[in-house]
């Protein structure tokens, strides 16, 4: 049950969200809040609707033919569908994809791209943004001597950290991560997890992951998605402390299906 105070303090508030692709329903009846400075984990098997959920948050449905979003998504007190400038909305929401996407630009330009497109920032400001974001993504020390080389030719783990640095380049309030570790080695995964824990002081994170243990390590609260529905939302310690209410959640956490 949602109380008024919950809605008031939530950074992200989703009501009766449904997503369809043509005739196919990918997600329906999702209700949840994400509070400021928490890491909100979303777990669930493939086709649970996790990625579609993320797409709806920053209105990427604009770019997906046939994708229809119903219901309400409130971000920072605004209904996202009514925000006139969808581009401004996306500047407030950073996104990290399952496969690392180093754009075929220099490392520097990868991070500087968004501030440049937004039309602000002088050269010295850009220098400062690039260094700060690369440091926050734990990549600075590895690339500081070759900022002019192509970001798309870095190793997978480095590219994923570059993607995170790029997502941070506009100081977003919300960071969406979609299974960031599936193409990344375990050491890099651990480094990124440390980065995320530190980032929590500055922003809010929605973490979609296939790895139940990763969600457990990082999340404050976890939502379990299954077959296009949000089955259960609970505090991480409750969920793993045996307080899961739904039998399907228990089964998934214990690896009994999927």
């Amino acid at each position: 049950m949602v109380t008024a105070s919950d809605a008031a303090t939530a950074l992200l508030s989703v009501r009766d969200l449904s997503i369809r692709y043509g005739d196919k329903v990918a997600l329906q009846g999702v209700e949840l809040e994400v509070r400021p400075h928490e890491i909100f984990g979303i777990i669930g098997p493939a086709t649970a609707g996790k990625t579609s959920f993320l797409r709806a948050l920053n209105r990427m449905d604009q770019f997906v033919p046939g994708m229809r979003v119903g219901g309400s998504v409130m971000f920072a007190g605004r209904e996202v569908r009514h925000i006139r400038n969808q581009y401004a909305l996306r500047r407030h929401i950073g996104v990290v994809f399952p496969l690392p996407v180093g754009l075929p630009l220099s490392i520097y330009d990868n991070v500087a791209l968004a501030p440049r497109l937004a039309g602000r920032a002088t050269k010295s400001e850009l220098d400062e943004i690039v260094e700060r974001c690369l440091r926050r993504a734990a990549l600075w020390d590895e690339v500081k001597d070759r900022l002019k080389s192509l970001g798309s030719l870095l190793s997978g783990g480095q590219q994923q950290r570059l993607t995170i640095a790029r997502a941070l380049s506009q100081d977003p309030e919300l960071l969406l991560l979609d299974e960031f570790s599936i193409a990344v080695d375990p050491v890099t995964t651990m480094r990124i997890e440390e980065v995320l824990k530190e980032l929590r002081a500055e922003l809010t994170i929605v973490l979609v992951t296939n790895l139940v243990q990763q969600a457990r390590r990082l999340s404050d609260r976890i939502a379990f998605f299954l077959g296009g529905r949000c089955v259960e939302i609970a505090k991480t310690e409750d969920l793993f402390g045996g307080a899961a209410k739904d039998q399907r959640t228990v089964d998934y956490l214990e690896g009994r299906f999927g």
Partner: protein, 297 residues
């Protein structure tokens, strides 16, 4: 070991497969040779018959004595005018249309039909384009028989090449790059300008150079729309008629009574034409290698 280990000898079936494989390889190799032979024969004949006539004077002289002597200067200049004109019209139009079709247009019946129409346009015989050019540019738009009308006709004929080449190279840029760019708050156009176009340059360039090759060589589309049998002066503007290499080759081969000692003239013109096309193709290969040489992702 001197003998193969037991179990590694060829069974009868494997032996037969091996023989078939060798036979197929030989057969297809021979076919490739057969394919290359005419190319060598054509080039060889042209170089042998026309090569000695290719002097600087041949390129820079006006035709003389009813086009049976002298050089090809006005035809060469005319071809440059026509080709440049075709490029000026076809390239911006084609690239813009390709960007729209690849990056903006929704996938509907209409856009699919348009795509199909573009591909079919490439298969329309050039003489049909010529008639269209006469109707549309010479008469309807009142360009008269002129460089402008001929260039526009060539442009219409080569547009599908530009569109298809551009669209393919745009679509070779992974969608993930676009999504990453969009998610940063970039508009479609910013994404195209910053990420998509800079990484599809080599394909677009290839399309442009293919246009040049075709525009240089085509005869039918220009002979009714702007190219003339003989013009004793160089074109002064786009509303002038002009001579052109391809039509000039047709004329000196079939329409002019060449005296003894001038039989090399058509070969020399043909060789010039081929050299221009080959030079363009070489340029295309050079640019593509420069652009593709560096791995981008």
């Amino acid at each position: 070991m001197t003998e193969p280990a037991p179990g590694f000898g060829a069974t009868p079936l494997e032996g037969r497969n091996n023989a078939i494989q060798q036979g197929v390889k030989l057969l297809f190799g021979l076919m490739t040779v057969v394919l290359v032979l005419p190319v060598i024969a054509i080039l060889g004949t042209l170089v042998y018959e026309g090569g000695p006539a290719l002097t600087l004077g041949f390129f820079l002289d006006m035709p003389r004595n009813g086009m049976t002597e002298g050089g090809i200067f006005p035809a060469l200049i005319g071809t440059i005018w026509l080709t440049a004109g075709a490029l000026v019209v076809a390239v911006p139009l084609g690239i813009a249309a390709a960007i729209y079709l690849s990056e903006y247009a929704p996938d509907t019946m209409l856009t699919r039909t348009i795509n199909l129409a573009i591909i079919n346009l490439a298969g329309v015989p050039s003489i049909v384009h010529a008639l269209f050019g006469v109707g549309a540019f010479v008469y309807f738009l009142r360009f008269g028989t002129s460089i402008l009308a001929a260039s526009c006709t060539l442009a219409v004929m080569t547009l599908p090449v530009v569109i298809v080449a551009t669209r393919e190279s745009l679509q070779a840029v992974p969608r993930a790059f676009r999504e990453a760019c969009w998610s940063l708050g970039a508009t479609r156009w910013q994404t195209i300008a910053r990420i998509v176009l800079p990484n599809s340059g080599s394909g677009i360039l290839t399309g442009i150079i293919l246009v040049v090759s075709r525009a240089v060589g085509e005869t039918a589309p220009i002979m009714f729309t702007g190219a003339a049998f003989f013009v004793p002066f160089l074109p002064q503007g786009v509303f002038d008629q002009t001579m052109a290499l391809s039509l000039h080759l047709y004329n000196v081969s079939t329409q002019v009574n060449l005296g003894e000692g001038h039989k090399h003239l058509p070969f020399a013109v043909a060789l010039t034409l081929i050299l221009v096309v080959l030079a363009m193709n070489a340029l295309a290969i050079f640019f593509r290698m420069r652009l593709r040489g560096r791995k981008r992702w």
